[in-house]
Symmetry: C2
Subunit: 562 residues, 2 copies
């Protein structure tokens, strides 16, 4: 039966709030598909607004304009039908004002035929803030087919209860079960499912399981591209009724894929066929793609071109500069080397090697004299006090001020270079090295940055070898090493991962064999630094739990170790 | 009938996560009440965890400890019963893992007798993130009484649909209607209802209407005290069955109030009896109390004592310093005067007058030489470029760095002095004057700060007269005035209020008679500065819409004026 329909999957990259731009992208795909005799073209969840539109959805005129835009697109739907994600108005006098809907566009008309049932409210998601959940289940009939349309989370109704207590089974409804009772012959899921380095595999499993369980082919369309911290990887799929992936679209790319029933007659694809060959770990390959996508879209969608990075000769800044050079072009990246009296010789030579390897431009601005002028100005205030963390922080903030001055003068956006390990334990200076418009690797642990550096060097040296091999140091006092203040990263990161990403408790981590005092020390550092993380830039999210809107811990609170 | 019961309202100030501290506070009130023959003592919503516990609720061991704490408290409930707000476990295999419950403690046992039905998910609230909504309605029977217990929002089921489109009628259920069918003879509402300068009046109207509509006395217990940005004003009430306030407890204070039925025989109270007499506008009087409470609790609950403020001689910093002196004691507040070559003479003299008026300590640290050292360091980079905003921002960031140095050296917390008008239009320097641990007046428009200054000067001059009368200026270049870059505040603020607080659209504001180009210019400034507000400190919330977690606008987005 489904063989009779020619279906197009439109995997596109939308900009939040850009109703005109998103509309013309959608219309473009409709016209392309029409020219290729497509019967039904499918777009992702909230395509018209981009995902997540956040509190733009509380602006009535914005919503009206979004609905008007959908009607405008429908005028192009003659001889072709489209499923497009967009908000719709809840005309009921009770309930939230909107639905998160799949609109059906056909014969020049647009109708919100399906509303989302399962509204996620965990991690970065707040859909109950805006939307009324659906309670009514209907099948979309089109050209003799009975299509079960669901929206993203709707098809994740039996996700496992995870140990993190962050379980998401608000739901007493299974939309697919309800729909299956109405005897559909194919399923469509439109999604805005953000990337994490495990998500593509979880998602494949969930979707394949559903297609097999209900014995139906499943057309899955996800958004691609990044909207600030959230990166969408696309990876839309056609899955056969045995739960095998007949075709998966590319990651992090726009793509229009057209298919008919014959696709199911071919051998199923290898699930990860489009990941590069080689010995590189898949998580690192995907994180690399995601960060490039996140950087590129942050700049493009903000109408910005150029970035500035403070280069310390260390690993974090080298990786951020290399990623920026790849994402934005090396002509658009500038490095600032800001040595102090405590900088080692190699800090300059390593940074210069990075500059040479990446082809970015750079300047050297020593901070010693500025630091002296601060010391002189504060002499009266600080009389009789010894040097301490204060003086280290002053150096970091001088650098932050210089970087922002460069940013202001030339219109470059400062990229923040903090990693997830530092952000977790508060090893950084607010308004100093924690400054910037975007945190590029703030969701990547230091241990993983070493793996990423190796991957960046896969063809030739990009990250200087000495940058990789030397001991990490903030170089804010003589002979300082990170390991003076912190456990070694290979010891620290596994504890952080369990506490932050897995949401395990103190006692659960200790039960896994970690040293009790060390775990207590690490968790206390994490808990004490909420105030720093509160003021940091948006962090490109590549894990299932990044700092930022997906992790909402109280700032003024009593934290005990349970 | 209700006359037979002696009821205590326990209006308390809890610290987030402090299960031990909150427990001992609750037990203390139970013991006090027991000694006074109280039958039933009522505590506020989520009293055991403090409100809002945020993602602490995703930590299973924390929740278990909270439930254990409730059982511990129950051991004190012999000869007295208590209603205490706390999370409880949802043992159903489907649904969110917790309920937001009212526990009934009696005969040494604790039972979660009522779960919250209406979970708010607007503004600062995210209760669907954690809690399963209640669907079952039961009456609490105690000593022959039938008590309808509801939790905060449950009694706000028919709040008006407001023009802001931020309407909150998710609800198809009216808990009070459901409960009324079960023939209760009294009502209890336990709440964690944060302050805004209109909230006390809205709240009174809603509660009185319900008591009258259902012809029942209503005992309302709210939390008091501040938890980071959220300030709770208490104002718990006993309302008679005609909807008249028989007693309202104080604002912003802990109080244990014991009453029996005889209270309903007296004449009802004046609703605002405990607001100070005088010609001062109530909103300003309340905002003043709220800010003092917010400041005091931020420091106390963070175990901090001392604050540092940058004193420019201007209104914002003068008010923040005066509030800090009042909240923390003038011995605990230090002002830093940091004149530049562009500072007017009066900037120093006005700041010194403020120091004298408030009794705080101060230092003068001129920034001219530091600024010169930055200019010298950047000379190579900036060759051939004219001075512009960059140099203004460098000055602001030098001041930020000096203030943070003072903070680091002496353990003082830097108070941020940005006001809501500046924060809205982005008139401030990130990491400069936008730095700080807490934004004290970031939810108060500049026009209201003038009214607050007048109130602070009600008995004697605190804010120097010249600070109030001179034209506002950032003094970052010769003869600069705020009005060079911005509309006058009395023109700007009414537009901001309509866009931010009332969530009106561009066209709605223009329809009210404001100049179209001006409105476009102001709204564009607001929309363009999300990236700055993303990185600012927590803002004490005193309005219905503060910057921070209650207003979630996309940072990378296309904003159009509808």
């Amino acid at each position: 039966m489904p063989g009779e329909l020619i279906v197009a999957l439109a995997q596109q990259n939308y900009k939040i709030g850009d109703l005109e731009g998103n509309s013309s992208k959608i219309v473009g795909a409709i016209e392309d598909a029409k020219a290729q005799n497509v019967d039904l073209i499918i777009f992702s969840e909230l395509a018209i607004t981009g995902y997540p539109p956040l509190d733009l959805l509380t602006q009535e005129n914005f919503v009206k304009a979004a609905v008007d835009a959908i009607s405008g697109i429908a005028k192009h739907c003659n001889g072709i039908a489209a499923i497009v994600g967009a908000p719709s108005i809840n005309y009921n006098t009770k309930g939230k004002p909107l639905f998160n809907s799949a609109w059906f566009l056909n014969d020049g008309q647009a109708t919100p035929v399906v509303h989302k049932t399962l509204l996620p409210t965990y991690d970065v998601f707040d859909e109950y803030r805006y939307f009324q959940p659906n309670k009514d289940f209907n099948i979309l009939s089109f050209k003799g087919h009975r299509i079960a349309v669901t929206i993203c989370e709707d098809i994740w109704d039996d996700r496992p209860v995870d140990k993190s207590f962050d379980r998401n089974h608000l739901y007493t409804l299974s939309p697919m079960q309800k729909l299956a009772a109405l005897k559909p012959d194919m399923a469509v899921n439109i999604a805005a499912s953000p990337f994490s380095y495990t998500q593509h595999e979880t998602r494949r499993q969930v979707l394949c399981k559903k297609a097999a369980a209900y014995n139906m082919p499943l057309y899955y369309v996800n958004q691609t591209g990044a909207n600030c911290e959230l990166i969408f990887d696309g990876g839309s799929m056609v899955i056969d009724n045995k739960g095998r992936v007949a075709r998966r679209l590319e990651f992090f790319k726009e793509q229009l894929f057209i298919t008919d029933g014959s696709i199911f007659e071919k051998a199923p694809e290898e699930a990860d066929a489009d990941l590069p060959e080689g010995p590189w770990p898949k998580d690192i390959v995907l994180i690399h793609k995601a960060l490039i996508c996140g950087l590129r879209d942050y700049f493009q969608k903000s109408r910005l071109k150029k970035a500035v990075v403070g280069l310390s000769g260390g690993l974090d800044s080298a990786i951020v500069a290399a990623l920026a050079a790849e994402a934005l072009g090396s002509d658009n990246v500038h490095g600032l080397l800001m040595p102090s009296q405590y900088s080692s010789d190699h800090s300059i030579s390593d940074a210069e090697a990075l500059v040479a390897n990446t082809g970015i431009s750079s300047d050297i601005v020593p901070i010693k004299d500025i630091f002296k002028s601060f010391e002189a100005a504060l002499e009266g205030c600080f009389k009789g006090r010894k040097a301490d963390l204060t003086e280290e922080n002053i150096q970091a903030r001088i650098r932050g001020t210089l970087l922002m001055a460069y940013s202001n003068k030339f219109g470059h956006i400062l990229l923040n270079t903090s990693n997830k390990s530092e952000a977790a334990v508060g090893y950084g200076t607010l308004y100093g090295d924690m400054a910037g418009g975007l945190s590029v690797v703030g969701d990547v642990y230091k241990s993983d940055l070493y793996r990423l550096a190796a991957y960046l060097n896969r063809d030739r040296e990009v990250i200087p070898q000495n940058t990789i091999t030397k001991a990490p140091s903030a170089e804010l006092r003589p002979d300082q090493k990170d390991s003076d203040s912190l456990p070694e990263y290979h010891i620290l990161d596994p504890i952080l991962f369990r506490y932050i990403d897995q949401n395990l408790s103190f006692s659960e981590i200790v039960e896994q064999g970690f040293d009790k005092d060390l775990v207590a020390r690490v968790l206390t550092m994490v808990n004490r630094n909420e105030h720093k993380r509160f003021q940091t830039p948006p962090v490109l999210r590549v894990s299932t739990k990044a700092f930022g809107p997906g992790r909402r811990m109280p700032l003024v609170a009593e934290y005990r170790l349970y």
